[in-house]
Subunit: 204 residues, 2 copies
C-alpha cells in the first residue's frame, strides 16, 4: 500500500522521508502512517530499483502557493550553505522515482478494487491513468460495492440487539452514499471523455 502512495507522491516531485510522511498523513484518511513503516518501505523501494536516493539537493518543485512549510524551507536555504546538512541536524535523503518505478506505479494503480485503502490511493492518483483506465477503475470499484450490497440483501442481518441493528443500518447507508458518490464520479468521467475533455468531477 505504502509503495503506491510513495511512488505517487514522488511522481509529483522529489522528496525526502520526513516530508513524504507528512504528505502521506494528509492523504491516507483513517489510519496513522508512521516512520517505522515508511523508512523500511523506502529502503525496499530502492533495493527494487523503483526509486533512487541522493543525499540532499532537494529539487523540490515549489507549489503555486507558498505554504508555511515552503516559507520555512526558503528561510532555511538562506541560513544554510555549508555541507550536506539541512536546516535541522541530519542530512536528508532525497528520493526520486525511476523509469522502472513509473511503470511499477502504473501497475499498482490498477490491480484489485476490493481493498478500501488501496482504492483510496488509486483514486488519489488516478489522474495518472488514461481516461479509459480511470473509468475502468471506477467501474470495478462500483461492481465491488454492488456485490457487497447484494450479499447484504441476500442474507440480511437480523439481530435482535438494537446496537447491532443500528450498526448494520449505518453500514447500509454508508454503502448507498458511497455508491451515489461513485456514480457521480463515473458520470463526470463519461461526460468529460466525450464532450469537454479537461474538466474534472462536479462537486456541489
Amino acid at each position: 500500500m505504502l509503495d503506491l502512495a510513495v511512488l505517487g507522491l514522488l511522481k509529483e516531485g522529489d522528496l525526502h522521508g520526513y516530508e513524504l510522511n507528512k504528505r502521506l498523513k494528509a492523504l491516507v484518511g483513517g489510519y496513522a502512517t508512521s516512520f517505522g513503516a515508511l523508512y523500511p518501505a523506502l529502503a525496499r523501494l530502492e533495493r527494487s530499483g523503483w526509486v533512487r536516493s541522493t543525499a540532499e539537493a532537494p529539487a523540490v518543485e515549489a507549489p503555486a502557493v507558498e505554504t508555511d512549510d515552503d516559507a520555512v524551507a526558503a528561510r532555511t536555504r538562506r541560513n544554510r550553505r555549508r555541507s550536506g546538512r539541512t536546516k535541522a541536524g541530519r542530512t536528508r535523503k532525497v528520493y526520486r522515482i525511476t523509469q522502472e518505478g513509473e511503470s511499477h506505479f502504473l501497475e499498482l494503480l490498477q490491480e484489485d478494487a476490493g481493498n478500501e485503502r488501496r482504492f483510496r490511493l488509486q483514486l488519489a492518483f488516478c489522474r495518472f491513468l488514461t481516461p479509459d483506465r480511470r473509468l475502468e477503475l471506477l467501474e470495478l470499484r462500483r461492481a465491488h460495492l454492488m456485490s457487497v450490497q447484494a450479499k447484504g440483501r441476500r442474507d440480511p442481518e437480523q439481530s435482535t440487539d438494537p446496537y447491532v441493528r443500528s450498526l448494520f443500518q449505518r453500514d447500509r447507508e454508508r454503502l448507498e452514499h458511497d455508491l451515489a458518490w461513485l456514480d457521480q464520479l463515473i458520470a463526470d468521467e463519461r461526460r468529460n471523455q466525450q464532450g469537454d475533455p479537461g474538466a474534472g468531477p462536479t462537486h456541489p
Copy 2:
C-alpha cells in the same frame, strides 16, 4: 481485535471454529475474516485461559428462529449418533468462555476509541456493558471523531486535483454522517437511562 470478537460471540453460547468464522464474517463489515487468523487466535485464547475447548458436545443454545443452518444441524443430529464425529468428517472443537475470559472481555470492550474496527466490535457487544460504561464508550468515540473533524478544519486539504478533492469531500460527509449517527445513539442512551430503561436506540 479477533479476541474481542471471539469472546463476545462465545458469551452468547458455545461454538466451534467453523461456526465462529461464519458469525464473524457477518459481524465485521469491511474486511475478510479467515481461518488462518481464527484458529491460531483460538489456540492463543485457550493458552491464556480465556476459553476452554472440548471435543464436540455442542451445547448450542438454539436461537428463537430456526435458520437454515439450524435445520441442517438438526437433521444431522438425527443422522449422526456414533462417536465424536460430526455431520462432516472431522471432530469439532467446541469453545466455551471462562470466568477469566469474561473479565478480559469486559476490559477489551472499553479500551481505546480511536480504532475504527475495534469500535465496531465494541458497539456490537456494548449490550454487555453497564449503561454508564456504554455511554462513556459512545462519548469517547464521539470525541475522537470530533477531533478528527477539527484537525481537518485546521489544515484543510487544498489539492487542485479534482479526484483528490472529491475524495476529501466524501471523507467530510462520511464524518458528518457518523457523528449524526453517534449523536442519535447517545441521545437514545440518555433517554433510556432516565425514563424508560429497556428500550433500545431509535431507528427510522
